[in-house]
C-alpha cells in the first residue's frame, strides 16, 4: 500500500523514466511511420553491406573471445596456476578502459609502415586497418566480459556436483566435459549475447580502424549519414538504426528468455570452495600462455599509449624524440579545459541523478503493488541494451532543432548529453540497488512503522542509511563510463560541449594523434584510480 506522498513520488518517477528512457525511442518509430517510403533504404546495398560486416565482425570477435576467454576463466578460477590473483585482476583490466582507446593504441602499434611493431621488426608486416585488425581489437576490448561472467559462474558452481561425478567413477576429463562445461552453458550463452551486443553497438573501434579502409559497420554508417547529409542524412540514419534496434531487442529478449528458462540453481548456501586442480607439468606452460595474453592485451596496448604520449614524432624511439611536447600542446588548447570541465561535470551530475532516480525506481520496483513496478524497472533498464548510436538519434529526434516535441530544442546543450548519459547508465544503478534493497528485510521497516515513524521517516532514517553504502559504489559505477563516453557524445555534442571522448576522437581522426594518446593516457589514469577506489569501497562495505 502506498500513501499519498508515495503515490506522488511514484508518478514523478514514472514521468522521468518515461521522458528519459521511453519517449526518445518511441519518437524514432513515430517519426518514421508517416515516411514509410524511407524504409526501402533498409535493403539498400550499402546498408546491407555494413549489416553483413557488422555481423561478421561480431561473430568472428565472439569466436576469438570464446577461444581465449573460456580456457582463461577455467585457469584463473579452478587451477593452481602461478600468479592467479594477478591475472584475475589484470586480465580483466581492459573492461574498465573505453574500447576506442584500444583502437588508438593499436593504431600506434600496428599502423602500416610507421607502427611501432612494424618499425621494430624493420619491415611492414602487419596493418591494423583491416578486417582482421578490427576483429582483433574488438576482441581485445571486450573479451573480459566473457572471462568475468564465466569465472563467476565457475566459482559459484556447487563443488559437490563435480565431486559426485568423481565418486561415481568419472575421470577428471570426463567430469569437465560432462558436468562442468554443460552446467556453464547458460552462463556462456548469456555472456556471448552480451559480448555480441557490445560489438554491435561499438562505434569507436570501427570508426577509428574501419573508416580509413572503407570498412563501414552499422554504427559508423549512421554516423556518416547523420554528419554529412543534413536533415535527409539524419532521416537515413534513423532508418539504418532500425537494424541495430531490431538486433538489440531480439538479442536481449532471447537472453532474458534463456535466463529465465535455464537459470538452474547451481550454488549452495554452504561455503565450500571448489578444490583447485593441480596442473602438474602443465603449470609453467599455462602460466606462460597467460603471461603472453597479458602482454598482448594489456601491457602492449597501454604501454604503447603511454609511450607515444611522450613522442614528438610518431614511431621513432630515440631518446631525443621524447618529451612533454604533447601534454604542453594539449593543455594550451581551450577545448581541453572545456572538455575536462564538461566530462567531469556531466559525470558527477549524471552519477548523482542515476543514484537518485535509481533509488526511486528500485524503491517502487520492490515495494509498489501490482504489475506497474515491474514495468517501471524494465522501462528504466531498456536503453542500456540499446546501442548508444540509437539512443543518440532518438534524442535528436525528440529534443533536436526542427524535430523536438513542441518546438523544444536542447540540441547542442549539455542537458542533452546529460539525458543521454543518464538514460544509458540508469540501468547500472537500478540493477545494483534492487539487490541491495532486497537484502534489507521488510521487517526492519515494519518495525519502524510500529514504533511510530511515518513512512517518510522510515525511508529516510532506516532504509536510506542501510542502502547508502552501496549507493557510493553505484555512483562510481554509473559515473565512470560517462567520463569517457564517445558513441553518443559524438553525435550530440556541439561547439562548447566537447567532452573528453569527442576531443580524443577528433584529435585522433583529424589533427594530432600523439596528443590523442596523451589525453587518452590521462583518461586511463583517472579511470584506473576510480576503478581501484570503487573496488576498495566495495571491499570495505562488504
Amino acid at each position: 500500500m502506498l500513501n499519498r506522498l508515495q503515490i506522488k513520488l511514484y508518478s514523478v518517477t514514472w514521468i522521468l523514466v518515461f521522458v528519459i528512457c521511453i519517449l526518445p525511442l518511441l519518437s524514432i518509430l513515430i517519426r518514421l511511420v508517416p515516411r514509410s517510403e524511407l524504409l526501402s533504404l533498409l535493403w539498400e546495398r550499402a546498408v546491407l553491406k555494413s549489416l553483413l560486416l557488422t555481423l561478421q565482425i561480431g561473430f568472428s570477435a565472439l569466436f576469438l573471445a570464446l577461444m581465449i576467454g573460456l580456457p582463461v576463466s577455467y585457469l584463473i578460477t579452478r587451477t593452481n596456476i602461478p600468479g592467479r590473483t594477478f591475472f584475475q585482476t589484470w586480465l580483466l583490466f581492459p573492461y574498465f578502459i573505453p574500447s576506442f582507446l584500444f583502437a588508438i593504441s593499436w593504431v600506434v602499434l600496428a599502423l602500416p609502415q610507421v607502427g611501432l611493431l612494424n618499425r621494430l621488426a624493420g619491415k611492414d608486416w602487419i596493418s591494423i586497418y583491416t578486417f582482421e585488425g578490427l576483429v582483433f581489437v574488438t576482441c581485445n576490448a571486450f573479451f573480459p566480459i566473457i572471462v568475468t561472467s564465466v569465472s563467476k559462474g565457475l566459482a559459484s558452481m556447487d563443488p559437490s556436483l563435480e565431486e559426485a561425478a568423481r565418486i561415481c567413477g568419472g575421470t577428471p576429463r570426463k567430469v569437465f566435459f560432462k558436468i562442468t562445461l554443460p552446467c556453464q552453458i547458460p552462463v556462456i550463452v548469456g555472456a556471448s549475447i552480451l559480448f555480441f551486443l557490445l560489438t554491435l553497438s561499438s562505434f569507436g573501434i570501427p570508426a577509428i580502424l574501419g573508416n580509413p579502409s572503407k570498412l563501414f559497420v552499422l554504427t559508423t554508417q549512421i554516423y556518416t549519414f547523420s554528419k554529412m547529409g543534413g536533415l535527409d542524412g539524419v532521416n537515413k540514419g534513423f532508418v539504418v538504426s532500425l537494424w541495430l534496434m531490431t538486433f538489440a531487442v531480439a538479442l536481449t529478449t532471447v537472453g532474458s528468455w534463456l535466463n529465465r528458462k535455464y537459470q538452474v540453481k547451481l550454488t549452495t548456501g554452504k561455503a565450500s570452495r571448489p578444490s583447485l586442480m593441480s596442473l602438474g607439468k602443465w603449470r609453467i606452460p599455462c602460466f606462460v600462455l597467460l603471461a603472453i595474453l597479458f602482454l598482448l592485451f594489456v601491457f602492449l596496448p597501454l604501454g604503447a599509449l603511454f609511450l607515444s604520449s611522450f613522442l614528438k614524432v610518431a614511431g621513432v624511439l630515440q631518446l631525443d624524440n621524447f618529451g612533454f611536447h604533447n601534454y604542453h600542446y594539449l593543455f594550451q588548447m581551450n577545448e581541453t579545459v572545456t572538455a575536462f570541465g564538461n566530462s567531469f561535470g556531466l559525470a558527477f551530475l549524471g552519477g548523482l541523478i542515476c543514484c537518485g532516480l535509481g533509488f526511486l525506481v528500485s524503491y517502487f520496483a520492490t515495494r509498489a503493488p501490482g504489475r506497474s513496478p515491474r514495468l517501471l524497472e524494465n522501462a528504466a533498464t531498456l536503453p542500456f541494451s540499446m546501442p548508444g548510436t540509437v539512443i543518440a538519434l532518438a534524442l535528436i529526434v525528440s529534443f533536436g532543432t526542427g524535430w523536438g516535441w513542441g518546438g523544444l530544442s536542447i540540441m547542442g546543450t549539455p542537458l542533452l548529453l546529460l539525458i543521454a548519459y543518464v538514460s544509458k547508465d540508469l540501468a547500472i544503478a537500478v540493477q545494483s540497488i534492487i539487490p541491495a534493497m532486497g537484502q534489507i528485510d521488510k521487517s526492519l521497516e515494519e518495525a519502524g512503522r510500529v514504533s511510530g515513524a511515518s513512512s517518510f521517516e522510515v525511508t529516510n532514517r532506516i532504509l536510506f542509511p542501510l542502502v547508502f553504502p552501496s549507493l557510493q559504489g553505484v555512483f562510481l559505477l554509473s559515473a565512470l563510463p560517462m567520463i569517457s563516453e564517445l558513441t553518443m557524445s559524438v553525435l550530440l555534442f556541439g561547439p562548447g560541449t566537447e567532452t573528453l571522448g569527442t576531443l580524443i576522437f577528433q584529435l585522433q581522426d583529424y589533427s594530432n594523434p600523439l596528443a590523442a594518446c596523451a589525453l587518452a593516457s590521462v583518461v586511463v589514469i583517472v579511470l584506473s584510480i576510480g576503478m581501484f577506489f570503487s573496488r576498495w569501497l566495495s571491499r570495505s562495505t562488504l
Binding site: S160, R166, I167, C168, I185, V264
Partner: protein, 242 residues
C-alpha cells in the same frame, strides 16, 4: 570384503588442526554413524575416505586396497575407490534427466546400454521413482531428489556407501520415510555404510555402531545401547541428553 580402516589419520587446514589423530575401523556390512555437533570434523572424515580431501598424515584402507598412505605417497583418486556417496545438497546434475543422472556412473564403467537400461529400471523401482525418468532435477520435490541421489549412489553396487547428512534438508515426515528406506537398503544389500549426522535419533535408529565425535576426536564408539547405558564421559552424556 568391504571393511574400511583409518589408521592414525590427521588433518590440518592451513595450520588449524581439524582432526588431531584418529583411528577408526568399519566392519564388513556394518552401518556406522559419525555423530557430533557441527564443526566436529565428521564431514571431513568421510570426505577423506571418499578421496575428496587428503589426510595430512596416516593411511586409509578400503577392503584389500590401500587407497591412501602419507608415508608411501599413495593417493588413489576418488573415481577409482569404488565408493558411493550421497551429498547433503544431493548434487544432482541440473542439466541431466533423472535417468541420465543415474546412468552416469554406469556409463563411466562402460557398462553396455542394455545392461544400463535394465539396472536403472531396477534401481528406480527400488526407490519408487518409476515414471519420473525423464524429469529434470528441478522438477522434483526434495524427497524425490533425495531418492535420485540414493539411486545414483547405489546403481553400480559400490562396496561402501557414504552418506553426508542426507536427511537434513527434508521435513520431519519425509525424514521418517527416508530413514525407513535407508534401513531397507541396509537389509537388502551387502554394503558397508558410513553415515554422518548431528541427529541422534537417526543415528540410533539406523546404526550398528555410533562414533561420537568432538573437535576431531572420538569421544566414544559403541552400539546405541552401549552408549545409552555407559556414556564414557560428560560430553557424551550431554550430547545424548541422558
Amino acid at each position: 570384503m568391504n571393511r574400511v580402516v583409518l589408521s592414525n589419520i590427521s588433518k590440518t587446514f592451513s595450520e588449524t588442526s581439524v582432526i588431531p589423530t584418529l583411528s577408526l575401523s568399519i566392519g564388513e556390512n556394518e552401518f556406522l554413524s559419525l555423530l557430533g555437533p557441527s564443526g566436529c570434523g565428521k564431514t571431513t572424515i568421510i570426505r577423506m575416505i571418499a578421496g575428496l580431501e587428503n589426510p595430512t598424515q596416516g593411511s586409509i584402507q578400503i577392503g584389500e586396497d590401500c587407497v591412501f598412505d602419507s608415508e608411501k605417497g599413495i593417493s588413489i583418486p576418488p573415481e577409482k575407490r569404488g565408493l558411493g556417496m550421497v551429498f547433503q545438497s544431493y548434487a544432482l546434475w541440473p542439466h541431466m534427466t533423472v535417468l541420465e543422472n543415474i546412468a552416469f556412473p554406469l556409463k563411466c564403467q562402460k557398462v553396455s546400454p542394455s545392461q544400463i537400461k535394465e539396472r536403472c529400471e531396477k534401481i528406480l523401482a527400488q526407490v519408487q521413482l518409476g515414471g519420473l525418468e525423464n524429469r529434470k532435477p528441478n522438477q522434483l520435490s526434495g524427497g524425490q531428489q533425495q531418492r535420485v541421489a540414493l539411486a545414483r549412489a547405489l546403481v553400480y553396487q559400490p562396496k561402501v556407501l557414504l552418506l553426508d547428512e542426507p536427511l537434513s534438508n527434508l521435513d520431519a515426515n519425509l525424514r521418517e520415510e527416508m530413514c525407513e528406506q535407508i534401513g531397507q537398503i541396509k537389509k537388502q544389500s551387502p554394503i558397508s555404510m558410513i553415515y554422518v549426522t548431528h541427529d541422534q535419533n537417526e543415528a540410533v535408529r539406523l546404526s550398528d555402531r555410533i562414533a561420537i565425535l568432538n573437535k576431531g576426536k572420538i569421544e566414544q564408539i559403541g552400539t546405541p545401547s552401549e552408549l545409552r547405558e555407559k556414556p564414557a564421559n560428560e560430553f557424551v552424556r550431554n550430547f545424548l541428553k541422558i
